[in-house]
Amino acid sequence: MSLEVAVFSLLALVSVLGALGVVLARNPVHSAIGLVLSFLNVAAIYLVARAEFLAVVQVIVYAGAIIVLVVFVTMLVHPDDLPEFHGRRSLRLVTGLVLGAALLAEVAAAVLARGVRGAPGPWTDEVVAAVGGNTRALGQVLYVDYTLGIQLTALLLLAATIAAIALARPEAISDRVAAARRVLTISLAHPRGLDQPELPLALPGTQDGRVKAAGGGRPIVLARSADEFTEQPAWGEWRGR
């Protein structure tokens, strides 16, 4: 067994352990740590495979940016509110494991039974070194043969940026939600009866949790008849009488 294989095996093992940690950890932050471990080891494997540029990109983008983003979001989104680990659906768990095992068997059979087909390309180590290293070689291939891909990817990243900004705006969402929440629940079960001239503007204790929950979280208003509120706008300002 050559050195490369030995190193590779070690790195692969740790990477897989990290991956297992992602799946098995209860705390999502622990999953993130497992993910980082896996990514860093894969970066090292890239180094073994003489794809130095990619190894660095892996660290910068994956381990550096994406993981950080994930951890941020995990922190922002109720880190205390952890759903039960496997949930009530054990059937799903079993099905997932079975499918995973099946796929593993299939792919292993495919990989081990067949070899890689394809004509060997020109970029042997010597050629790469002659050009000036992996980065330079990669740059040559990328900017000569895959220029269109670069342009499109740039476009894609632009779109993603815009999407991120659009999705993350808090006020826009709140406005819509708030407007939806302004739909009234009209109660005709008026405690004072139909013959009363004066109406209270709102139920006493409207903000009380129980009553609000009864109205689906919306404010509850009394009316003598369903027609009384037909002139009220559904959205926006509700003018009390």
Partner: protein
Amino acid sequence: MSELSATHFLLLSAALFIIGMVGVLTRRNVLVIFMCIELMLNAVNVSLIGFAWELHQLTGQVFALFVIAIAAAEAVVGLGIVMALTRRTDTVDIDELRQLRE
């Protein structure tokens, strides 16, 4: 198997991919599911690099570069969606996010 060949890379890729897949299918926390998706993308990258290694081609590396870029974009948008969703519904349990049902 004394020489490092594509087979090693492919087996590692398979393992990582399947672990990621099982995680996507099994876990309930939206963010953990997301991390497993990233794991699967990463696994694909490994196999691409393996081919580049075996065939002395740089196309595999170029492809993997693109995958990383796209994974980044996808991470951004996906996390944005997750944030918007959880802001509205106050939960990260994927079993509660059933709006697709209707």
